[in-house]
Symmetry: C2
Subunit: 588 residues, 2 copies
């Protein structure tokens, strides 16, 4: 083989960006398990080094790259190995078998590990010191035409990625995301089970509809007119498990939420669901801090506990939102007093309203950077959201994004700012009927002990023992100490929330049968992992996510069913009239 | 306090059977975690010993037992502690608070650990050397009237247990079952993730209906006429993950199966779902043996690997069933030759049929033990099941049960006999149309390599690379090496099974895009744990099971929905006519 052409090809290959990405992933998986046991291979594609020179090895994997008649680059989940195609006449059968391969075909190669010729090592590749001289090949599957190349740098449309998810998942980034998720969850379980004595209990997903459960999918049973519901969380079960004396429960729980046509929501998602007996708010918060510290990937840097805590009131006052991004300052400044005697009509009008304020955000460098179109965007946002509660919080975030897109360094992308937000109001006025109250979170949250008498006199003033966990401005968890007395729970449901208590009679009965004080939390696993890996969307940390509109583009779900299939469930489709269709389209 | 009355009470209490059961459970949990961290208590009710004498402790729990004005026996998930009620006049408030408690009320007690008076220790109780002299009590919840006592020896009807499941779960047996299940699953994950390098990947449950998926629940979407299905297993996803290069996947997966009115089935159940690339049948079998050995509870005794392997043909010949209970002998004996020249008409007629045989089971001692009613039962079973394939297998088991109920020791209840059954036929004639074939397991199973050409000539003769795992005569798992070539899969689906291949076009496309050879298995977790703990039903190892008819008796699910709720999903109930109702009732 001509040393020169070999050198040129080597350089060409070295230039591929895929390589450096595979390098990262091979690092994080190499310490895991024994991936070659029980399998056809003797080694993985990421593990051969100069120590292996002279060894006869068997590798299995995908053809990542194939160059003329010289090299096959073989890939598995741990990395890449260069296979040298023998050039002797006596190996012509082997040579032509290898040279006929298409990219992404699946093969098994047996050969001998040798050092690459001096000067042709690739320091950027973990296996770059060696190559494997092929002696035998078994071709498992020839890859037919692909809809896109399996290269991280090849941009694909989101819908193409979803349609061919099994190819999209071959990218090093998606492999890393799925593997990191698995490892984090494993460490969480280790902490909860082995360190803190929690019991992993599975709870049903075919359940009864819950009061106000408008977002619950329904599942027809074979009894005419009778339906299960897929619950949004195991809330009732976790509380019942505390009544049952389980003491410490957790579950990595599949949850369902039907948000109809709301975009970018997953109809099914996963939460780390936790409940404890004989505990106060501080105990749950310490537990979660310990949990995250224990399971945090070392390569993401250590996280400091305890996390900062902020009262809801303070969050709303300083950040205009209940989930502040504390990676940057730019707090809201109340200027109401300054303008208390103002003559400007719209300021006077704002201040004269109940709770009306005038507030400012100081954007450093904004005077220079925010001009023309940028300024118009901000004004437009202010106009359309005027009078809505989180307006200033949105403007603060929008300003930060505008600053960053102008090149200002504001938020460190590798920083993780955890924050507890506490002392939420227990009830809020209903949006459509402000004279009635609804739960700020859910009806099972206990009031702060010092506010509990207000439940019977001024419920709108009651603060709840609720805590939200915020990471970089995203809510990643929420929980509360629950009401454990039947009479108090009954009062909240019936007198304050005006709910039909018969739907929850089993829970009320349970509270009267020896319920311990208890509380818990649920962490949104998809969101947490997506922030951890810096993904743009939770779809990048879910193996088979649904599209924006809740479709599985690969299998084309949801799908139509035959009348016979529907008959078994005693349902029929009620096709909307043309008029109803138009109305629905308008609402979207 | 009169020493004598105290002694009498102590004896009374010692007699309760609950105690010995709690003793067992406290043993298995005491090594787990730190159950008192983060909590109100300083210790659990099961951990105090004479070493703690003089310590001031705080315990939380349920009032298990209360006797006159002397003792409160406090229970938590670890065991029981005797609380001594102070008798001094100065403690009258505390005394009356404790004496007014009802059984199953929840309290917190602070007091000092002291030795019990000499001669009054209880050696059968782990905390029987000590008692805690109460100094302070906080009453969290007074238990109102209970539907049944929380004592293991109190028999409750199954429906009462289900309706008040949160009380039923307080029994020591159910606590043990749930905690053992959690620990076994944790060790399984440890083995798969940390020892064998598997990746825990969550797959969706809202999916598209699968061919022949008549047992799949349907979930209406908000698009008129479009439905998701809840799949019976992640079969397609696990194979797609292999195509995606995940290499080793596992999931403790929730699965759904709608068997309508078939009794004693759970509509949702859990399987340990495993798939591997570049592996043969022997590799999966070794993996599962290692998995079970690693996760087997030490107190159940060690299990020996490798497990025995038996061919399907041999199982059918010797045991008359494909999941033989090998804990006892009593194999079937073929007597066809003996009777080949028989004059007895029914024997001649049996032998003249294709595949007709005359077989016997030798029941040791049967001649003496099987008389009158017993013999009639056997005859009746033989008559009603005559001509059905597993008749002799059933008779063998029935004979074993009859022997055991006559007091013969046949099967060791603490023995665990694992068995692999292999070389199943790939296809079986359809029950209703014997001239057509259906998959013996599922359409993705690969043929034995030596039989693969028969797929195109005599498919009914093909044996599959399928393996079932049997434990004590119950099938607890099944798996196979899968077809990884699109053309072969297409042939099986289209030409042999006559399925609509468009429903699986995504899978066929995936096989053409670089699919590795792969295989896997699914273990039925509920069944496995129920055999492990010796439960009568899988309902005893599931926290909130459904009733025989698929109902949740606690919450009363499934339930009716309002027309408004159904309108959102564009469905309406098709009430059956009176005639249809009668027909359905007859089928049940």
């Amino acid at each position: 083989m001509a040393a020169k052409s070999r050198f040129v090809l080597q350089r060409l290959f070295n230039g591929l960006r895929t390589q450096s990405l595979w390098l990262q992933s091979s690092k994080s998986t190499s310490s895991q398990g024994r991936p070659s046991s029980l399998s056809f291979r003797t080694h993985t594609c990421g593990e051969l080094r100069s120590d292996h020179v002279g060894d006869k090895v068997t590798l299995c994997g995908w053809v990542q790259y194939l160059r003329q008649d010289l090299f096959v680059i073989l890939r598995d989940f741990t990395g890449l190995t260069q296979i040298l195609i023998p050039q002797e006449e006596s190996a012509s059968g082997l040579k032509s078998a290898l040279c006929d391969l298409t990219v992404e075909s699946v093969i098994q190669v047996t050969g001998t590990v040798r050092l690459r010729p001096s000067g042709q090592e690739n320091k950027g590749m973990p296996t770059g010191e060696i190559e494997v001289l092929a002696e035998n090949v078994e071709i498992f599957n020839i890859c037919q035409k692909l809809p896109f190349e399996i290269k991280d740098f090849v941009k694909k449309s989101e819908s193409l990625r979803m349609q061919y998810r099994y190819l999209d998942l071959r990218s090093s980034q998606m492999q890393q995301n799925l593997r990191l998720r698995s490892q984090v969850v494993m460490k969480m379980r280790d902490y909860l089970c082995n360190v803190q004595g929690f019991v992993d209990v599975e709870t049903p997903t075919l359940f009864k509809r819950t009061p106000g459960g408008a977002k619950e999918f329904v599942v027809p049973s074979r009894e005419p007119g009778m339906f299960y519901s897929l619950p949004q969380s195991p809330q009732q079960f976790k509380q019942l498990l505390m009544v049952a004396g389980v003491d410490r429960y957790f579950q990595i729980a599949r949850c369902y939420r039907d948000e109809g046509s709301k975009p970018d929501r997953q109809p099914e998602f996963t939460q780390v669901d936790i409940e404890m007996s004989f505990v106060e708010q501080a105990g749950i918060m310490s537990l979660v801090e310990g949990l995250l510290q224990h399971s945090w990937p070392p390569e993401k840097g250590p996280i400091k506990v305890p996390f900062h805590t902020m009262k809801y009131e303070e969050a709303m006052r300083d950040y205009g939102v209940d989930k502040p991004d504390t990676r940057f300052n730019m707090k809201l400044i109340d200027l109401s007093e300054v303008f208390s005697a103002s003559d400007v009509e719209f300021l006077r009008s704002a201040l004269s309203k109940p709770g009306g304020t005038v507030q400012a955000i100081c954007v450093p460098g904004g005077a220079n950077l925010f001009t023309g179109k940028t300024l118009d965007e901000l004004k437009q946002a202010a106009k359309t959201q005027f009078g809505q509660r989180p307006l200033l919080g949105h403007l603060r975030l929008q300003s930060a994004q505008l600053l960053e897109s102008s090149g200002v360094t504001l938020r460190d992308p590798s920083a993780f700012h955890f924050l507890w937000v506490v002392d939420f109001p227990l009830f809020l006025p209903k949006e459509d009927k402000p004279e009635e109250l609804e739960s700020a979170h859910h009806p099972f949250t206990a009031p702060l002990p010092e506010d509990s008498q207000l439940l019977y006199t001024e419920p709108h003033k009651v603060r709840g023992q609720h805590y939200d966990l915020v990471l970089n401005g995203s809510e990643i968890g929420g929980g509360s100490i629950r009401i454990h007395k039947a009479a108090e729970q009954h009062h909240v449901l019936k007198n304050i929330l005006k709910e039909d208590t018969t739907l929850l009679s089993h829970l009320l009965e349970a509270l009267d049968s020896g319920a311990p004080p208890h509380g818990g939390i649920a962490l949104g696993l998809d969101r947490l992992i997506s922030i951890m890996v810096g993904a743009n969307s939770i779809r990048d940390v879910i193996a088979f996510p649904k599209s924006f509109r809740g479709h599985d583009l690969m299998s084309r779900a949801p799908d139509s069913l035959s009348e016979e299939e529907l008959n078994a469930y005693h349902i029929s489709v009620k096709w909307p009239t043309k008029h109803e269709r138009c109305e629905e389209d308008e609402r979207k």
